[in-house]
Symmetry: D2
Subunit: 359 residues, 4 copies
Amino acid sequence: MKNTFGNSVTVTLFGESHGSHIGIVIDGMESGIRVDEEFIRYRLSLRSSANELSTKRKEPDECRIVSGVFNGYTTGTPICMIIENTNTVSKDYDSLKILPRPGHADYTALIRYKGFQDHRGGGHFSGRLTAPLTAAGALMMSALEDRGIKIGTHISSLHGIKDRDFSSSSLEKDIDTLNDSMFAVLDDDKGELMKEAIRSAKREGDSVGGILETAVTGIPAGIGEPWFDSVESRLSHILFSVPAVKGLEFGAGFGFADMLGSEANDAFYTDGKSILTKTNNNGGINGGITNGMPIVFRCVIKPTPSIYKEQDTVDLSKNENAKLAIHGRHDPAIIHRARAVIDSVTAIALYDMLSESRL
Amino acid sequence: MKNTFGNSVTVTLFGESHGSHIGIVIDGMESGIRVDEEFIRYRLSLRSSANELSTKRKEPDECRIVSGVFNGYTTGTPICMIIENTNTVSKDYDSLKILPRPGHADYTALIRYKGFQDHRGGGHFSGRLTAPLTAAGALMMSALEDRGIKIGTHISSLHGIKDRDFSSSSLEKDIDTLNDSMFAVLDDDKGELMKEAIRSAKREGDSVGGILETAVTGIPAGIGEPWFDSVESRLSHILFSVPAVKGLEFGAGFGFADMLGSEANDAFYTDGKSILTKTNNNGGINGGITNGMPIVFRCVIKPTPSIYKEQDTVDLSKNENAKLAIHGRHDPAIIHRARAVIDSVTAIALYDMLSESRL
Amino acid sequence: MKNTFGNSVTVTLFGESHGSHIGIVIDGMESGIRVDEEFIRYRLSLRSSANELSTKRKEPDECRIVSGVFNGYTTGTPICMIIENTNTVSKDYDSLKILPRPGHADYTALIRYKGFQDHRGGGHFSGRLTAPLTAAGALMMSALEDRGIKIGTHISSLHGIKDRDFSSSSLEKDIDTLNDSMFAVLDDDKGELMKEAIRSAKREGDSVGGILETAVTGIPAGIGEPWFDSVESRLSHILFSVPAVKGLEFGAGFGFADMLGSEANDAFYTDGKSILTKTNNNGGINGGITNGMPIVFRCVIKPTPSIYKEQDTVDLSKNENAKLAIHGRHDPAIIHRARAVIDSVTAIALYDMLSESRL
Amino acid sequence: MKNTFGNSVTVTLFGESHGSHIGIVIDGMESGIRVDEEFIRYRLSLRSSANELSTKRKEPDECRIVSGVFNGYTTGTPICMIIENTNTVSKDYDSLKILPRPGHADYTALIRYKGFQDHRGGGHFSGRLTAPLTAAGALMMSALEDRGIKIGTHISSLHGIKDRDFSSSSLEKDIDTLNDSMFAVLDDDKGELMKEAIRSAKREGDSVGGILETAVTGIPAGIGEPWFDSVESRLSHILFSVPAVKGLEFGAGFGFADMLGSEANDAFYTDGKSILTKTNNNGGINGGITNGMPIVFRCVIKPTPSIYKEQDTVDLSKNENAKLAIHGRHDPAIIHRARAVIDSVTAIALYDMLSESRL
């Protein structure tokens, strides 16, 4: 339903890039969940623009919990978190109502909202809205961790440079490594090459994208619904609302297209205690429901559409073809920041499903 | 919300493979929409098992509209469609409660429903449930066609064999061709190779999967929401609830990972009448909202998990590793049938979003 | 959301009075709930028209469960129940599209559905739709009874004739008495007077209404939400969708208007085991949440609008004032049948809230 | 769904009486609606405690719109309004966790939230939460007025003192009078008697309640749904979530119990232009759908439970019966303030239904 996601536990996002505040309301979390504000700050720092790879717009992203938390625990009533917008330079954006940026939402927002949208800095479409989303997800991540569920994401590919795969034998350790790292790769050498590719794009006034791979361990079997709330459906719903995500695959994903059924099926076995599968081509999900194996998925992040190179567009005031050169503060890549957002929306969807399943 | 999909117009699916009926309730369609029962029957025939490539279970799939349609038009109150299950051979399935089939939902259903699931023929997880889904979608497809919106899907790849791409210059004609065809390919020679690959898998007691590519033309700009109901989010939600779909990409999709921003951005231009884009890497969607260009996406269909080859599983009654050989009636491929389901769920999601947007 | 009620457990109603079937889908009930089809039949008989007080239209109301129940227990997937319409005489109603009946939905349905409504017998607005609603509620009533929760309703007033009040000291026994009775009064002498009032109205071609009072025992404290899903809100939502209900009050209800706070407040006390209140003016609900005392409410049922006396209306084909004389089969009162519907919708709302509260 | 109300346009309420802020998010309002902040302030002043009849807690209730409004018009994205809590004296409330106040939510909140609720000043249950609700409703009231729809409420009864009835011939004028008045009565002499009754209750350390009657003019025919979203259902859902509302009746309401059908039915007639009814016993609603006549309903407001007289309660720390004397700042009546809240929630429900109906 519009700006609300979730069934049992919902999040509602509000705010514009250059308005007074952005924020989020979490409704339906049970009472008595420990809230770790320090962890929320840490997760916000993972998505913030703290180094030379990223935009020059620097905001403290000080997230304030204004309701629903009392003495360090959730009260069971709605939690509202707000972040003040302190560093807004609106004059950069005034031409964009007339010259829509390719790959951005300027044109579609104009049509959708009939010209009443707050166009400054992308308004409600701004990537800045992912800050409260990250904060809400961080609150749920720590609640999930308290239940033994871990979530981690690495840059599996960036403009052709590939990180090593997750290790199936030490997956939890890989996740811990990523969550302690500002630049989320498993192979640091590859990470250096990726950073160089980002710097190179920046020098050219261009941008790069890539693929994020996420793993979730510790999720119990039996979560999800056959129709229409499969685990894939719920995760995809929130993942595809993160700006720049244009593709998503679970387990073997598009690789299934060339497999035979005998290769694709994950054979069951027991180690005496648990039912496990020998392979995990289905990414921990059968028939839309978790089978107890790790959930694994990859989503593609398109290159940041804000580039400094001159582009073709239309002057909407004259209905004439025109040229556009974007100024202002922009990221040559967002994938290394997006990983924190992906972790958070994964936490939001899984927390909701767990809550609904009462497991 | 569980077995219901949609905001403004909802569908609720019910039934089990070997129960008395399966069916669907459509709620929220406005009154006065023409209902073409002949077209619904035709679309059901596209997903049915009418040839040597498919399962031996043959059902007439006679869909009966029991409410919400009067004198050939929607009344505005809920439409219930039911299909009787006439050809059920339940004895084939009795062992499956003990020996879960790899790649199927037998095990996860057992955990999720604590042993109370109707396990016969996959029960509520059965691909048979896609019949009422196809019927509901067919009703919406014809309503969309009356508004100039066309939906078509081809098998873009099957076990390594690739169909030709959609033609950007004659996309509507491609869609018409596909919708008149029982085996949905744009290049018939490639279609023959694909059929041979299916027959070959069948001879081996194995199965194949592939990739379906869908295009939608005529959709107006301005449909969708930034958070969390982007067009990608809503389509993905319903697409990932179709059994066997494990990946989905819009426009350039995973190809974005290797592009620069300057290659990825779709430059705007005007032909004097409309705002168009020179490329369509974003698949007709910017910032979660349609931009008026065709919506294009691909989803991967994993190989049918029911194969005749012996597989490893666990005997749940003894918690011991065991071997499983599946008998009964199964498809060596479902992708050529799934295209009708994909068209229908696309129609359901788009009809709902159009209805919500009041465009 | 339109024809669906409920958060955690939902019901979706479909069908028209003179269509082929009417029915209901229940979604979200957990697996393993015992289903007592005999009890459902009994509750349907309480709302059916089996005696001289009611309409001559007699239907077996044979309710068929077509999905979601397997071997006598819920499977956890949607339960669809259908009832065939066998005894439909549509010719009685043809004039009603032109001459709307006062107090009925003929006129509002025409406006709402732009003339496409199935007008025969009231179509989707028919009281007949309360049959599947009663069946769904009966399924939940027995599940609630298994948890020690009892629901009962009596005719507390009918055209000025008042039944005795519920006994606070033997409320459960009162409820048992009502549920064993076809005409739900606590004082049989008053019941005879009420029946005579109904027969008298019938002789005059007129109709009567009254007040139904409902009590619920055994409900645990802690169910409900402050905003906006208070117990009163959820109950009222479904109660006010029952045709003919035009007023609802909880506990002292409208009597509060003349009380002082010191009279109205229900003082707490402990009997050593439980926290109780000395009075129950709040009808078991404080701040929208159950306090463990019985839930008590009353709803008014307006007189059946179908009367045989001549009435003023408008000939919509000519936009002229006109006279209307209704023929066909109609009830001089529905209140003695409505009690079964009120019990059922109460069960539906409470089951949903309990399910959501996980108590 | 919990703290969210609405289908097409939703409101989500957050905050606690003694937290940093309280607020509300409105989602789904279309873009381009004029926002009159002055009118919002005026409506907040109608519910605030600005005179000797009310609590000594005085807050400016400065409502700040932090998102979704740009240059004086709605943007189409979520509108968040926040109000800072500036005047909180939390020490007044510390004993209430042990000694629950009769008639209040202290005990039920404790059970519902397992002791984690913010108990200070009633926390999330506080009447203070009706301030943002009033603000959100005010925004919608002015949008409805722009469409010719007016809403007004008077104190029809207060502790036995009755105001005159709405005039059916000059109903709009009555509504205008009420909306210009701080103490909403139609007969000022009766208003003076009511004020004296409130002062008298105050002198006794007691409180009074009453009945509020609301009328809505200008609402078009054809709004609402038969199941389960009747106009009565939707209005009742939000009205019963306003603290202190314990009963609600539409049109003749409980008066129907003693009527014959021939008295109760509202005969149709035409004045040449419109279809009207001679009486309005159904309060403007037939079959759950508006018929174009004014919507009229009454709700009972129970006496404020906070009284200064000593009351019986339980000491929860010892599970022993105990005495309670409440100190702090409390209203001897809230009905004269509640009228602004009732207008606002009526506006919220109607705006949502109109939006859904596209009329």
